[in-house]
Symmetry: C2
Subunit: 356 residues, 2 copies
DNA sequence: CGATTTTTGGCAAACGTTTGCTAAACGAGC
DNA sequence: GCTCGTTTAGCAAACGTTTGCCAAAAATCG
């Protein structure tokens, strides 16, 4: 005795729409309409159907639906290689706000991690071209692209977050990295500081380029020569921020003319830098003022409390989602290519007026 | 002139398996077999088919496949309400290791956030019962359950991480919260400390229960009365760790007989506690030793460097995935109900011998 | 009560795969 | 040339929905 021709597996498959129809005593098409289109069916039968569905614990099969309508309702977020930062909760905060906004609109969030390997790129492209996802939020500067297929041609709406990719035609939601650092530097200048030390992220990285430019702009605006800004770092990635700060402290010690103000491109760098610098006997803010980027809450509890530029992760996430859903819904709403949400300098004791 | 009866939408839908078959000059069923079953088709035609697929940029439609075979290849991770912790990178580290392990096995990670609202529960159950996901990793103490449907009955393999839910029949992967705190406390006792201050997480929370019990065990083992352990906290959630630490510092100041050793249930609490305590003039570790839980890297750069119990997030994630995939694959491999991976105490300056 | 509108039922096709089956094509060995 | 074994073609059903269509039923109204 053998199974019927086509026998999938004897899995627990749950009640079907047909079962609901039978129980409610209506046609299967009516059930479908009742569950999807609110209006197309009489209120009374709709209630009957709802009751039947609830009684059976019916849940529509997402794949069957997705296949038929040709759309999924999951959004993919592409995270850069390393999710790990020392102290600032970039990823959790971003995920939290994005997920919340998506949930409210009936979407689900899928995670993809874009490493340097072709395998992870292929995986992402399979998701994009295979109809699994409906839209993409990307936190990486590189669009996945491998043998012919490119995320750009998947026919999916894409929104870039944290990095401005509007030049590449990708709508973006970012913060004002450059201005924020420029203003913070100007603040330092206003406090009398004239020699600066810049602790850099990976060379060529968008954030580092912008923030460095911001610092230089502030000097220029104040008529201070550009070489008043010493540089450290550039070789390590942000997730190695603590190490960058340590190296920066060593670099700093070797300088002849000591700067009096430090601008770090992440809180991690500032924290380890401060720790090492204090061990050499220098005092903050007495000898050296420090400001950094990201706005990690822990900065408040450092010794001394650290000034930092707080990124509006929550708001950026919400706007990125709104923008993506607009694009999915084909709403004609007009967006500027790159939406900028301002960061906010939080002044704490680590920044103080220069005393000669 | 009107569309054909059933006209979905004119979307960019990409090449189909039929297109590949045509280009390769073979039957569609052969293409399907060539792409799935490695062996069932002649090597030469397989190469021809691969070439055709590559040339067209063909990607199989995941939903059609999933519908037909009745299985998806995405795994859902259920995160507790708040993903945000002050300083320890719990979520990113867990996500990173889980995602990596899943990717290597061809699975994709989907995120679900379990809030207190019924809506988020419903959403999760829809994913589980709707065939979208193939397995679940849960970091929350509560299994989603709403009007009749419960995640426990979805017929899906579930693995709990961080919390031991093996009593509820959910296979678990955890660290040894209790022992780790017991050992750290014993270490304090060995250093001569006799009065302790425990900064607690939310009352009744698994981690808090375990860790508190661990501290008490150490006292008992050393013959120290249980009331040598003063308590603070219990009202706020872990994501408000900084606030807990602040309140604890205030509580501490009110004690008559000052403890000399502090055990905090998260690094956040320890950091803000230390910050506030130092403002009152007390010195660490001179007057007070401190140890906390989680192993945030930033602890190394605090003043003084903080002792902390480092959780093996990476390893827990890998094992949780291995275990889940075993369950999915129906592998008969035997697991103990609850796998325990040991945490590691990292001794730093914040812990020092008691000096009267 | 008859005419008109609203709501359902029933049917069937479609979404893009997978898979079992039979028969045909092909190559090799006798 | 014949047989045998391997490989492929071709067909068709199935996965569980959605949706257009038309006719039937029910409700509404004058």
């Amino acid at each position: 005795m053998k199974n019927n021709k086509d026998m999938p597996i004897e899995e627990h498959s749950g009640p079907l729409m047909a079962d609901v129809a039978r129980l409610a005593g209506v046609a299967i098409s009516t059930v479908s309409r009742a569950l999807a289109n609110p209006g197309r069916v009489n209120e009374k039968t709709r209630a009957k159907i709802d009751a039947a569905a609830k009684q059976l614990g019916y849940t529509p099969n997402a794949m069957a639906r997705g296949l038929r309508v040709g759309k999924s309702s999951t959004v993919m977020i592409i995270l850069p290689g390393s999710l790990y930062y020392g102290v600032s909760q970039v990823i959790p905060q971003v995920l939290q706000s994005i997920n919340k906004a998506l949930l409210q609109n009936g979407y689900t969030l899928m995670i993809a991690n874009l490493g340097r390997d072709a395998e992870s790129e292929r995986h992402i492209l399979d998701l994009a071209f295979g109809g699994t996802v409906r839209g993409v939020i990307i936190l990486s500067s590189k669009l996945p692209e491998v043998d012919g297929r490119s995320l750009a041609n998947a026919g999916l709406p894409i929104v870039s977050m944290l990095l401005d990719m509007s030049d590449a035609g990708v709508p973006s939601v970012v913060t004002n990295d450059r201005e924020a650092v420029r203003d913070a530097t100007a603040e330092m200048i206003g406090m009398g500081h004239r020699r600066f030390f810049y602790i850099a992220g990976p060379r060529g990285n968008y954030h580092d380029v912008e923030r460095h430019a911001g610092a230089l702009e502030a000097l220029r605006d104040a008529g201070i020569p550009q070489d008043a800004l010493s540089l450290s770092g550039g070789d390590l990635d942000y997730h190695e921020g603590f190490e960058i700060g340590i190296q920066a402290a060593a670099d700093f010690a070797r300088l002849e003319e000591r700067p009096t103000a430090v601008i770090a491109t992440s809180d991690d760098m500032a924290i380890s830098f401060v720790s090492r610098i204090q061990q050499t006997g220098l005092r903050i803010p007495g000898d050296l003022s420090v400001v950094s980027f990201d706005g990690a809450p822990v900065c408040e509890f450092c010794f001394p409390p650290l000034s930092t530029i707080e990124q509006p992760f929550e708001e950026m996430g919400e706007i990125a989602v709104a923008r993506l859903l607009d694009a999915i819904g084909q709403e004609g709403r007009e967006w500027e290519p790159c939406v900028v949400i301002r960061s906010k300098l939080i002044l704490r004791e680590s920044m103080a007026p220069f005393k000669s």
